[in-house]
Symmetry: D2
Subunit: 472 residues, 4 copies
């Protein structure tokens, strides 16, 4: 139904630091706290004023970096990235930061977001002789900057960025400067902090906490900030448009200890859980959440509904990527991997199972069955977000499915398919107001595209078909 959209950078994580003697190490720790945003590749580029040093590799940070790798990354400025990629779009070539050397000097760049006009821009550049070596949309910016009329990073940014449509937070580093920029809707999070005299920038504030940095403020939509030896300089490269921070960052993507525009993510999730209990209470014995991302919402539901919160589902902590998969035969005999239902908790009980979202519905179906197999008398599924009925064009990996279940089925049909005793979603209004953001802004300043089909930016015609494809 919804074919794969090329050029996604999805839910990546960015970290940069300017002016610290241990720049590479701090970037490593910063990326570590952002690991949940991307587990397919990691890289750090440092600059010591003359030379650019690079280390990157596929895999988790702990796989991509071995003893000694950090030592070789000298310099007081660093830029790091963790990359999310679905199968087939991985590979070393796409691991960021990208880095280019020319006679004019070196440049490194990293990106979190997705450009909706990637294909037309790429076609145009190729027609005029550019060669692309990656399939990430990050490379577009490099070509646009190179094709521009200036050698000055600030001017290059101001010339190139307005040509882009979509969600983006960019960080670019040369021998002399670090520049970051956020798209005019502020679709992706990007925060600014300080660590002593050094400046730090990160996709989430949890990175500041880990390294002991202080949060200063969020980067503003349409803002670019340049750091160089004279200090920090902020400027608009475009006027800010209607604020539209991705709702999914609150719902499941960000870490619970991060603050997004000064709202704590755990607290936001708990509020969504409470709101859900208000909208869709049920007579039951216990509440349980699907670990890890739905725990906060489940606690909120339990508190509001005055039902005991229990560990009814356990996630296996040691499931690595090398885990040898059970055969289909063993699976059918009941060999379970990532998640187990706790029989001692759910047996004979009416269980409220709180989850954060439903994409294809197969995971929910599996969990309901786990709970019933473990003896649950009833399973009431409560989702702390509205049904997803439209693809995301801004980097959330819902669009790689060819079937969003909620785009094609009613709630009752979904309930039946997953074998639940009841199924309820949070309302769109509940999502808008529940988080507690600025009620005066349209949509409370949130992007609701995947719930409503109303996207903050233009969507190119090639993608338009995807939008009308769903029946919901």
């Amino acid at each position: 139904m919804f074919p794969e959209i090329k050029g996604l950078n999805e839910e990546c994580g960015l970290f940069a630091i300017w002016g610290h003697p241990e720049a590479a190490k701090l970037t490593y720790y910063g990326l570590h706290s952002l690991q949940h945003r991307g587990q397919e590749g990691a890289g750090i580029v440092t600059i010591d004023g003359e030379e650019l040093y690079v280390h990157k590799n596929t895999g988790l940070l702990t796989e991509a970096f071995q003893a000694g790798d950090l030592e070789r990354l000298s310099g007081r400025q660093a830029l790091g990235h963790v990359r999310y990629a679905t199968a087939g779009r991985g590979g070393y070539d796409n691991v960021q930061p990208l880095h280019f050397k020319s006679e004019d000097g070196s440049i490194a760049m990293a990106h979190n977001g997705n450009l909706v006009n990637y294909q037309p821009l790429k076609s145009e550049l190729e027609r005029s002789g550019s060669i692309f070596q990656t399939t990430t949309d990050t490379e577009i910016l490099a070509h646009l900057m190179k094709r521009g009329h200036s050698d000055d990073l600030r001017k290059q940014f101001k010339e190139a960025l307005p040509q882009l449509t979509g969600a983006y937070s960019f960080a670019v580093m040369t021998e002399d400067e670090l520049a970051v920029a956020l798209d005019p809707h502020g679709l992706r999070p990007l925060s600014l902090g300080r660590l002593g005299d050094a400046f730090v920038v990160a996709s989430e504030t949890c990175a500041f906490d880990l390294i002991g940095a202080d949060y200063v403020r969020d980067v503003e939509p349409g803002e670019m900030i340049i750091f160089n030896e004279r200090g920090m300089f902020s400027e608009r490269f475009m006027e800010a448009k209607e604020r539209a921070l991705c709702s999914m960052e609150y719902v499941y993507l960000a870490r619970p200890d991060s603050n997004l525009e000064q709202i704590n993510v755990h607290t936001a999730r708990k509020q969504l859980g409470k709101q859900l209990a208000i909208e869709a209470d049920v007579d039951a014995d216990v509440v349980t959440g699907v670990p890890d991302s739905s725990i906060s919402a489940a606690i909120g539901f339990s508190e509001q509904a005055k039902l005991p919160y229990e560990l009814g589902l356990i996630k296996n902590r040691y499931v690595g990527r090398t885990f040898i998969q059970p055969s289909q035969a063993l699976r059918e005999q009941g060999v379970k991997m990532k998640l187990s239902a706790v029989r001692g908790v759910v047996e004979g009980k009416r269980v409220v199972m709180v989850d954060d979202s439903i994409v294809r519905g197969t995971t929910s179906q599996r969990i309901v069955r786990l709970l019933k197999d473990a003896g649950a008398a009833e399973v009431h599924v409560r989702i702390s977000a509205p049904p997803i009925i439209r693809p995301c064009f801004y980097g959330i990996d819902t669009s790689t499915t060819d079937e969003l279940i909620a785009a094609n089925h009613s709630t009752e049909e979904m309930r039946e398919m997953m074998g639940a005793d009841s199924l309820r979603f949070l309302s769109v209004d509940g999502l808008k107001t529940g988080i507690g953001r600025d009620a005066k802004q349209p949509n409370c300043g949130q992007c609701l595209g995947c719930f409503t089909g109303e996207y903050p930016t233009a969507i190119p015609n090639e993608h338009r078909d995807l939008v009308v494809a769903g029946k919901g």
Copy 2:
């Protein structure tokens, strides 16, 4: 104060299966669910009736086994082990199962527990010509069996096991038979299950859930069970003594989805948390638990005390063993690794921090400081177990510290050292009754040695000194 005790096998995990065509794979999954009991080594031995196949290595299961390793382990019977080892006592040689070949045939053996008379037995065997190749106490049993007067596994067990003092659950496999045995006090858990026609044995019942096996019963103290082609045969090798299941299995060691003697571990912990709230309530704003093992107790405390339960502390899920450690300088600047306090949750709040135990006190001190640094107004530490004032001789790794803080300091002294606003422990009576085990048995059938100094078995003189060393 308490020097290291040699020969510990500590909190290992055992799994065995008899009579399944995919024995090695199921053992792999079974060990996977027991990974929390030992992360320093893993091994599986299979037998196809003629030949014994072995694969074992240091590290996590996913590190020790690579693609193809399981395929080489053919046969319908398998025995697996995950090993816990503190630094310096690791190394390939000690990874279990141990396996020996002689003209009489092959034997493989694995062990969870600790023999308190390891040293005198070893000295005696060496004096009469035995050569030991490992420093695990598991090897003792092999020599005792070899020195016995029989070639029959059943008779060898009955002759050798009564010579042992301590905590042990053994599994031994030959070309023809699998035998398991539990010490006469039942200090370590060991459960029996069925998967179709196959028999399974595991240290915890969560292994049964993962592979879809049914729980049958727990192995009884002093019982040995032999599986062979004719079926399963149970027998006492010694009379059962006063039941004394390790309390720490409930408090922090076992997985929350396991049942120990039919009591769910999560539920037991939640009960301990409730009991703690009854004994040591406090006026506060939020309750938080130290992840992962104290979550259940914190939920129980919150429910009983009617205080909101929050994610005030976050554990970093991606801290692998290859994580590059921050320098002391960076640490002092505030770089945190495993655990972060959630500022958005605790800032300005009076926080109840529930933890499961205090050994040296340094971890608690660090967490209190994390919370205060993140802005907590007050931190009230509540421990869901009594103070540990004596070493464990049965395999719990408390004895490697040379200072059990509670053995040397009053509660008030400890509170001050950790910088908490209040500190309270669960009472010994609360622990005994809170779990909900058989109230008619002495100590409710639990070992309380580390809390009281009253051990269920004799302790050799060499260890006796350790017991009186503490001042508490």
Copy 3:
């Protein structure tokens, strides 16, 4: 004296096959036989008519390819490369084949040789907006082809290649075609073969022997050959110029079992050794060669001089790249690594030591000392090539030294520096005629640039300084 020249591809190896069901495997074996031409990286690209598959990595072929990697390279056409790189110019980014995807399709390219006008071409392309991602001169061709006025591989080649100056053998593959080309002087070897219905191309004929292919002919200077589903098409992209095959291919680079323009390399070397004995005989007891490349010349010398040939020097076969290096202190105590003198053979003897060339002179000095330490009474060094007095601009790694000893010292000075009893080089005339190539061509069709300073192509001004820098 002679600074490092950027952009070298040096002594790499190329292999390609068109139209065989096991294309990737045969390319792997073919590259295996070319491993001596490059040990820093290896890669294979295959095409199945639609998709391009790539696997490449740093290191030896056996390190770069693991089990399963070949299986993923499906298709009946394949292009492979082994890369030579001196320290600092290695790294994954430069491993070939390079591959690029655009809307027009995919292209993969590999190169053996060196472009002397790399820098001016690159500067010009960057000025007009191209971004370079590697520091290999191979990428130049991709940009020139992209910037051309055609989508047709044949026309792109004809337009781009004449812009290049230097030594090159290129292989380029698209979804539909494979094209190879050799520079108009034929500085690098490139041969054409057949394996059943399939076409094969390789840098050396030893690759044909390994896979059982038949040699057809050598690719001609200025010739390009295109393979597609209709067959093989040959065409001149430039008129052939004065033939100038690199003499060093015969002297030390190629494998002894290869034929270069139908002259066997071992036989050529043996002839050079005989010629050397004619020119520079000496009264001695034994002849020994420096393994491996000087063995053939030493045998020739021995035969001509009627002196016994002995294994006076042994090369350690197991010195891998992971070999732990001895400290300076141990080196001074006499710990030897790659080469040992055989005391039992040289003690008390007058030894003729035949080597193939002298670059910096340090290796020769070390070997003379090895032989004297092992008791040799006299050491007479005989070099089966003339003195190297000029840098190579075509890819032979002599130019990375900042001191060619023969460019700055007389033969007598060199003899004294290396501690030999006598030192003689082959004459330039001896090299020209000794190999036995076409005497009617200038220089017998060989490049003698490094011996005479007369280069077959123009040398850009920037490099001109290097040429006059030497005093010789």
Copy 4:
């Protein structure tokens, strides 16, 4: 015909050093020069007077030791071993040195050779309660020493060694002493050297050359030498018997730069080649040797026969153990791996192909075919040793074949099977006298068991059958 014989340690290599500050590193280099004697495992044990440090692993030395491993092996005494093992008898458990810790202290041991009474000794020890953890015969000595009546290494050796029958060179190290011993026939080589104040012992003298040590003398048959802080002490543990150094050490096993009992191995091989030319000259055009071990004999043959010596066969230097094997189909198409015939050298020529021995005959057959496929007009096979008609019981890996071709076929039958134009072996007398050892000793002091069936030691009945099995 000849089934596998258990317990072989075959052609291993030993190195030990006593009293050098860089003991581990020097042992590493020493083992490196002995790598040809064993490539399946490597290990080093050091002792610093108190503690024993061990590192060992399967594979080549460069695989078994990684950066940092040597640094952890502190101490001034070291013992190292490289292990040869045929498939199925490998595995970590059997890698040497073996090491055992007991209350009495630590012991490490390494062995080169084979005990013919391994099985009866092992059975007896098992019956009295010993447990064996390896299948190497090295472990026998440990048990015999432990079962003895002394704690003194010297007395243990004198008590245990005379119980052994076979070929052995042992090195044993405790906290205080290093002891080495050679069997009373001196079947395996073992040499003594000095490096400054330190003592060194090695299986071959090439190890001394590599580390710059001076050769002192060979260890004598029946001699044991003990090194401790007071110096070096030599003693007979048994009277020397008829000298019988393994002929195969000269023929192919030892390195050409080693001296065995002061005869250089390359020179001995060249002499055998000359003797072969005297006994079996032939009218031909070129002589070529099978690399690497037959090169010296081929040179000798060429010199004596006055025929040119050529590189007619090339060994691929980069064939690692990870080399991906060609399918049978590709093999039949002519894909060659380890060895290539040089068409440019052999085409149209009558070739004398010198090899060192024939075991199963399959390799010779393959090489003859390689040469003929490359166009050789005639191939005359000349073997620089007599036909092997009996198994070796002392550690040479001829006995794992179930068919020694020469035990079952006449020379003419063999010639026909391998497709050669003629086939001749060196005579037994030629082998005896050709090497140039002491003509006054029986068999010139060499073991000729595999050529004649006359073994220097008793052979147990179980093995006797093997001896009479052959028809030759």
